[in-house]
């Protein structure tokens, strides 16, 4: 099912991407081609097959709820674009 301009704009918004006007048509074309390509999966009979999320069907390992890591905030914030008092700064969110 080919994607239209409106679909691309909606998907881009969900992914928090901003596409150049000039590029929207080619993204629509490429994405539609990829979706058409993956449609081959519809033909596979998977009625009795459970989804495989992990190749060895592993589950999340648990550990005791005890603090095991040191506080390295200052070290990690050294590469941040904008910080103040240990907080990351972003443009005003609430009007």
């Amino acid at each position: 099912m080919p994607l239209e301009r409106a679909d691309i704009e909606n998907i881009a918004h969900l992914a928090r991407l901003e596409l150049d006007e000039a590029d929207v048509a080619s993204y629509a074309r490429h994405l539609s081609d990829i979706l058409a390509f993956v449609e081959q999966l519809d033909a596979a009979d998977t009625a009795d097959t459970s989804p495989m999320a992990h190749p060895l069907d592993a589950v999340q390992r648990l550990r005791p709820d005890e603090v095991s890591e040191p506080d390295r905030r200052e070290h990690f914030q050294a590469i941040a674009p904008a910080v103040e008092d240990g907080l990351y700064l972003v443009p005003k969110v609430i009007e």
Binding site: L31, Q40, P51, M52, P55, L56, H75, A80, P81, V90
Partner: protein, 486 residues
């Protein structure tokens, strides 16, 4: 000693015998990088000063008669592995300013084994590509023909090893990104079993598929490096707690009675004639070594690439959501609100292939489409895994061409994503099933390298490396270096 074609094993012996110092070896590689890399563009960052300091420390250890097999060995890391205090770009503008604040476990393990860091290798952006043409830092060239691609996404690592700019390099493989460039560049590339090597500090693309591994001159070298890199890591919740075998100990095992499965789906019309001929000759060598080949079928093979192109983009859309301009990486200038911060930082930071995959993934996971795309793909994934499980009841390893063609020209497939995706037609299934795979140099077609792929059962790396080693004792494809770099 010809360092361009020297194996790690040979270099390690020379270092231990003090015929060569780590300092001399490191300087020799730095010299070769300076001379040849402007043409190949295989390195993003060269850590010259750090390398010499590490080499000096290694020489002190070796001088005391101490150290292990990897002490003083220079190597390079794909720029997807976090290296403490060193730029880690993932081939992207998004991380062009990112100095990693910690070491990936794989990096720390290799450092603890005494290796010397020469630098970080170029790669397709966020590991998304099969030609190393999507890197923000420019395309990498294949040393065998610099108008052609080295393969991807670990193209920088592959080109650097093939040209003898480094004896070995790490890589990552999500759909073939170690094996395919190894094949196109005429070197050995190993993708371990999912969970064998820790993913902590390895920038995530598709978390159920990604695996760190190595690109080397030989299977013996891969065995040495894997032994140091592999192992349980509590910091990676998908790391498997199973002992690491001594891969070197079984390299020389006899191949008599080895059953090699040849999937009929890997030997059809889709393979170039020259590639097919080289593979047939390689299989004849393996039979001469005592192996027996058996035709098998992996009936869902044709679904591997479409399955991957639902699952990998879906997982990448989630993994790349963290790049938002807030805590690290690229931030746009003067954002006027939070949405603008996110949208412009991400759009400026990511290239078109990354954006394409994020969008496909977002679509496949979105309300109303999740079951039809993502869940469906996960079910087909199990069908593919089951094909291999049945095959391994009959055979010990599975063999075939790593790639359907030799290296294609730069620019040839960039505007045709699906043709590009089909470069990985033989490698992708192993990632979906979590199986280990190795590509071995197996000859040439029209002067360009051809790779033989071996796929093993879960945690059968020792067997794959054994077959590779015995093949490399009987052939010398792995010693070839392109004329211009010899």
């Amino acid at each position: 000693m010809q360092i361009a074609s020297a194996t790690l094993a040979e270099l390690a012996a020379a270092l231990r015998a003090r015929e060569l110092s780590s300092d001399e070896l490191t300087r020799a590689y730095l010299g070769r990088i300076e001379q040849h890399d402007p043409r190949l563009n295989s390195f993003v960052t060269v850590t010259g000063e750090q390398a010499l300091a590490q080499a000096s420390a290694a020489d002190a250890i070796l001088g005391r008669g101490e150290g292990g097999p990897l002490t003083g060995i220079p190597l390079a890391h794909k720029d997807i592995f976090c290296t403490d205090g060193v730029l880690t770009t993932c081939g992207s503008r998004m991380l062009a300013n990112f100095t990693a604040p910690y070491d990936a476990t794989a990096v720390a393990n290799l450092q603890a084994a005494g290796t010397v860091l020469l630098g970080k290798t170029n790669m397709d952006e966020f590991a998304m590509g099969s030609s190393n043409e999507t890197s923000h830092f420019g395309a990498v060239r294949n040393p065998w023909d610099t108008e052609r691609v080295p393969g991807g996404s670990s193209g920088g690592s592959a080109a650097a090893v093939a040209a003898g700019l480094v004896a070995a390099a790490t890589g990552t493989d999500t759909g073939g990104s170690i094996r395919q460039p190894a094949a196109l560049c005429g070197i050995t590339g190993l993708k371990p079993t999912y969970g064998r090597v820790s993913r902590y500090g390895m920038i995530a693309f598709a978390s159920s598929l990604d695996q760190g591994g190595v690109l080397t001159r030989s299977a013996e070298d891969a065995a040495l490096l894997l032994g140091a890199m592999a192992g349980f890591d509590p910091r990676d919740s998908t790391s498997v707690d199973t002992p690491v075998p001594d891969y070197a100990a079984t390299l020389g095992d006899d191949l008599a009675g080895l059953r090699i499965g040849l999937p009929r789906e890997y030997f059809g019309d889709g393979v170039d004639a020259g590639v097919g001929a080289a593979i047939e000759a390689a299989l004849a060598e393996l039979r001469a070594l005592g192996a027996e080949t058996v035709e098998i079928s992996l009936p869902n093979s044709h679904l591997a690439v479409p399955t991957y192109y639902v699952i990998a983009p879906a997982e990448c859309s989630a993994n790349l959501a963290r790049f938002d301009g807030v805590r690290y990486g690229h931030r746009c200038d003067a954002p006027h609100d939070l949405e603008d911060l996110y949208k412009r930082s991400r759009s400026e930071g990511f290239g078109p292939e990354v954006k394409r995959r994020i969008m496909i993934g977002t679509y496949a996971l979105s309300a109303g489409y999740y079951d039809a795309y993502y869940l469906k793909a996960q079910r087909v994934r199990r069908l593919i895994g089951d094909d291999f499980r049945r095959a391994f009841e009959q055979v010990d390893v599975i063999a075939g061409p790593t790639a359907p063609t030799t290296a294609f020209r730069l620019g040839e497939r960039v505007d045709d994503p699906i043709t590009m995706y089909l470069s990985d037609i033989f490698t992708i299934a192993a990632n979906l099933a979590g199986l280990p795979g190795v590509s071995l140099p197996a000859g040439f077609a029209d002067g360009l390298p051809v790779g033989l792929q071996l796929i093993g059962d879960h945690f059968a790396e020792a067997r794959l490396l054994n077959v590779g080693h015995r093949f490399q004792q009987a052939t010398d494809w792995h010693r070839k270096v392109p004329q211009a770099y010899a």
